[in-house]
């Protein structure tokens, strides 16, 4: 059996987590190569539809990363994220998709190391969960 190489999508807000990811890069913090970042202006613009779409098309995990509560470049944008994504996870859970495949976290522009840590942890978690069963559905 070949090694499972998860495909992971990460939505990063432009102001904090994308900058945090950049900082991780600048500091050459090494991490697994499974995560593909989509830059959005605010985590609050991440439609749960994207998460559902990705998961049902076989993406193994989805990260939604935003500014810490209180630090949102758009005041309270991420307050909505803080509620939408948990609901998104619950819905996945209700239909039998392990909601650990979706993770919401806050990474500031200064937290390159936090970004690295989130990526390392998440990739490890997805590896223990194994391939997204929806992958086969879509093959």
């Amino acid at each position: 059996m070949t090694e499972f190489k998860p495909t992971i999508l990460a939505f990063c807000c432009n102001w904090c987590s994308y900058a945090g990811a950049d900082l991780a890069g600048v500091n050459r913090l090494q991490m697994p190569p499974n995560v593909h970042v989509i830059r959005v202006m605010c985590s609050a613009s991440v439609k749960p539809e994207y998460v559902f779409k990705a998961i049902s098309q076989g993406v193994d995990g989805v990260l939604v990363l935003g500014c810490h509560i209180g630090d949102c470049h758009y005041l309270t944008g991420n307050h909505r994220t803080a509620k939408r994504i948990p609901v998104t996870k619950k819905i996945l859970h209700d239909v039998g998709i392990d909601d650990r495949r979706v993770r919401l976290d806050w990474v500031s522009a200064a937290e390159g190391e936090k970004f690295q840590q989130v990526i390392i942890e998440f990739v490890a978690e997805i590896k223990t969960l194994g391939p997204n069963p929806q992958r086969e559905v879509n093959m």
């Binding site: 539809e49 509560i69 509620k83 939408r84 209700d94 239909v95 039998g96």
Partner: protein, 266 residues
């Protein structure tokens, strides 16, 4: 017109001053929604056929104009009207509700826990049903078992859109699920995303009327799924659809609707 019809017309037109009345009627063997003005005879009124009149209402709105509408309302219709009014889709003030208490059988069929309208005009209030047995069963399953169950169900879906077309709180003219943005696959069954996205769209407004499930030609227990998500919303935000005072927690800040764990690393 039967006695029931006459009684509804009296409440609507004489007692509550409505211009038109929306109800279910049987005409030449066909049961369906009808809309009548005072004095019109649509055939025999029927209350034993569950149908979401509110779903009809939203389609009729452009044609109704300023007319005052009376509508036969079960508890779920009533809640649907509240949800629509919160979104400015219907004008609550111009609405005359005729409260209909559901029958025991209907309550059983809907596994309904909130079945008595704020004012009972027709029928008799009956005991609500305890929790949805299937939901409980699904909740006690392992995640793999639950996945197996739902995937089996969803595999039957032929994407007829009955669930959305007949939903009283689905108010978009064209459903985004008809486009390829989130469900790019051609043919049936649709991707899982179809059901997930619909669940999310209804999370802050589903009134558990059961119309989706009744409309489903392949018997997917959609009402159970709705109930599961509604229970999540209740647990997370103490939110239940049909409460005129509560804004959707998904649209407000954490100041209005704090999350217990602050949403961190969930």
């Amino acid at each position: 017109m039967n006695d029931l019809g006459r009684r509804l017309a009296r409440i609507a037109f004489d007692e509550r001053g409505a211009d038109i009345l929306l109800m279910m009627a049987e005409n030449q063997g066909n049961v369906g929604p009808v809309i009548i003005s005072k004095g019109q005879d649509p055939g025999d009124a029927r209350i034993d056929v569950p149908y979401q009149l509110v779903a009809i209402l939203t389609n009729l709105l452009p044609f109704i104009g300023k007319a005052k509408v009376a509508i036969l309302c079960r508890r779920c219709d009533e809640k649907a009207l509240i949800e629509l009014a919160k979104r400015g889709i219907v004008d609550d003030a111009s609405m005359v509700r005729i409260g209909l208490a559901c029958s025991k059988e209907q309550i059983q069929a809907c596994r309904c826990s909130d079945c008595v309208p704020s004012k009972v005009d027709i029928g008799e209030a009956a005991e609500p049903c305890p929790e949805d047995a299937l939901a409980i069963e699904l909740g006690s399953m392992t995640i793999e078992q639950r996945a197996a169950f739902w995937m089996r169900q969803f595999r039957k879906c032929n994407k007829c859109f009955g669930c959305t077309l007949n939903c009283p709180v689905c108010f978009c003219d064209d459903c985004v699920l008809e486009e390829r943005t989130y469900t790019p696959k051609e043919g049936i069954p649709p991707e899982l995303a179809f059901h997930l996205i619909r669940s999310f769209h209804l999370a802050d407004k589903c009134v558990e009327c059961g119309e989706c499930e009744r409309s489903c030609p392949v018997d997917i227990p959609l009402l159970t799924l709705r109930k599961m998500v509604n229970r999540d919303m209740k647990n997370m935000f103490d939110y239940g659809s049909g409460d005129a005072e509560k804004k959707s927690p998904l649209l407000t800040t954490l100041d209005d609707q704090p999350l217990e764990d602050d949403g961190h690393a969930c």
